[in-house]
């Protein structure tokens, strides 16, 4: 059982997974993009600018989900001091930061023609910016604090503190008056987005998740190589 966690075994698994995802990723991306950009209908009100949503919404979901994951893993990391978790959270963070930034940028590109402004200091947008800052702090701690144990502790606490921001982002559109519209897709109850738009949206979400997995595995691999260089046999 513990054999699985030996570096070389993890390595083989990562390589297999990487080549598998690599082989299907571009085909999936093409399908997803062609559904999002060509085959899906324009919106009755926004026209073609609705297509930005197919990147914006999955990017925001991934930004939120990866921070939640980092925070939860950080809790276990802080309590049980599992080395592997540190590597995992460290590998997820850049992905989350990139997708949060993509969500913010695509959002403001969409906001210009629809709302009439690039930026508004409303609760949703500001809390999303705070999320991006938490990612930056998390990554900066790992880069700047040279003593590894300290870096691990401080970054865990940063992530756990940032966890409070997640429900604020989610419910900001319900708790306060915001310029940002409330969620169209609800887990309970009916969604207010037509199925001809929902399908490409979920497809794009799946494709971008694949991309996340790809980047994560590559980053995780480098982290393990770094450990190997220190001549540690097991994580």
């Amino acid at each position: 059982m513990l054999n699985f966690f030996y570096n070389s075994n993890i390595f083989i698994w990562i390589e297999k997974l990487l080549s598998f995802i690599n082989s299907i990723f571009f085909a999936l991306l093409l399908v997803g993009l062609s559904f999002a950009l060509i085959f899906s209908p324009p919106d009755y009100l926004q026209g073609d600018s609705v297509r930005i949503m197919y990147v914006h919404v999955p990017a925001a979901w991934i930004g939120l989900a990866s921070f939640t994951l980092i925070a939860i893993l950080s809790i276990f990391n802080f309590i049980f001091k599992i080395k592997n978790l540190k590597l995992i959270t460290k590998s997820i963070a850049p992905i989350g930061l990139i997708f949060t930034c993509i969500a913010i940028v695509t959002g403001s590109i969409w906001g210009r023609p629809t709302w009439g402004t690039f930026w508004a200091w409303d609760a949703r947008i500001t809390s999303m910016l705070v999320l991006a800052l938490f990612y930056v702090i998390f990554i900066a701690v790992h880069k700047l604090v040279s003593e590894e144990d300290n870096a691990n502790k401080i970054s865990s606490i940063v992530a756990i503190t940032g966890l409070i921001n997640i429900p604020i982002i989610k419910y900001s559109v319900l708790w306060w008056n915001t310029l940002h519209q409330p969620a169209s897709i609800k887990i309970t109850g009916s969604s207010t987005i037509h199925s001809s738009m929902l399908t490409p949206l979920l497809l794009m979400f799946f494709v971008l998740l694949m991309y996340c997995a790809l980047i994560f595995l590559m980053k995780y691999k480098t982290e393990i190589i770094r450990i190997k260089k220190k001549n540690l046999k097991r994580l």
Partner: protein
């Protein structure tokens, strides 16, 4: 079950997390009015201390059949279905601005019923659908 040290760290973390949640809650509670991106006509009506020299935002729906465009000036009424406020605006409007849709106007209050805006933002709602469906729904409504 847990090692003693891990137990200590867990309780430390729980206390830290609880305290930070309380802090954030108190901060948000204190800032509540400033977090609101816009005020509704009802908010303006009931509030006692309005600074007429300060820029504020008023939001709601553009009341149907009130949009009136005179060469340079755009006049319309913002409503939250309970109270209304008259708005005058000169300038360019975003694509989505139309009657019966959400709007946020930025500018100064002249009095509690009249607002001079220097910027108009359109608020999009959470409904997404293809144009054909919109036509079908219109036909059904007739």
């Amino acid at each position: 079950m847990l090692p003693k040290k891990a137990k200590k760290r867990a309780s430390l973390l729980a206390v830290f997390f609880l305290v930070s949640i309380i802090c954030v809650f108190l901060i948000l509670n204190a800032l509540n009015k400033n977090i609101l991106y816009f005020k509704t006509p009802t908010d303006i009506r009931v509030s006692q201390d309005i600074d007429f020299n300060k820029k504020i935002r008023v939001g709601g729906m553009v009341k149907k059949n009130t949009l009136n465009i005179k060469d340079q000036e755009i006049l319309f009424i913002i409503t939250d279905l309970k109270n209304e406020i008259k708005v005058s605006f000169k300038g360019t409007i975003p694509n989505l601005f139309s009657e019966g849709k959400g709007v946020v106007a930025e500018g100064k209050l002249q009095d509690k019923k009249f607002f001079i805006a220097d910027r108009i933002l359109a608020k999009h709602d959470e409904n997404y659908m293809p144009p054909e469906l919109q036509n079908i729904m219109k036909d059904n409504a007739k």
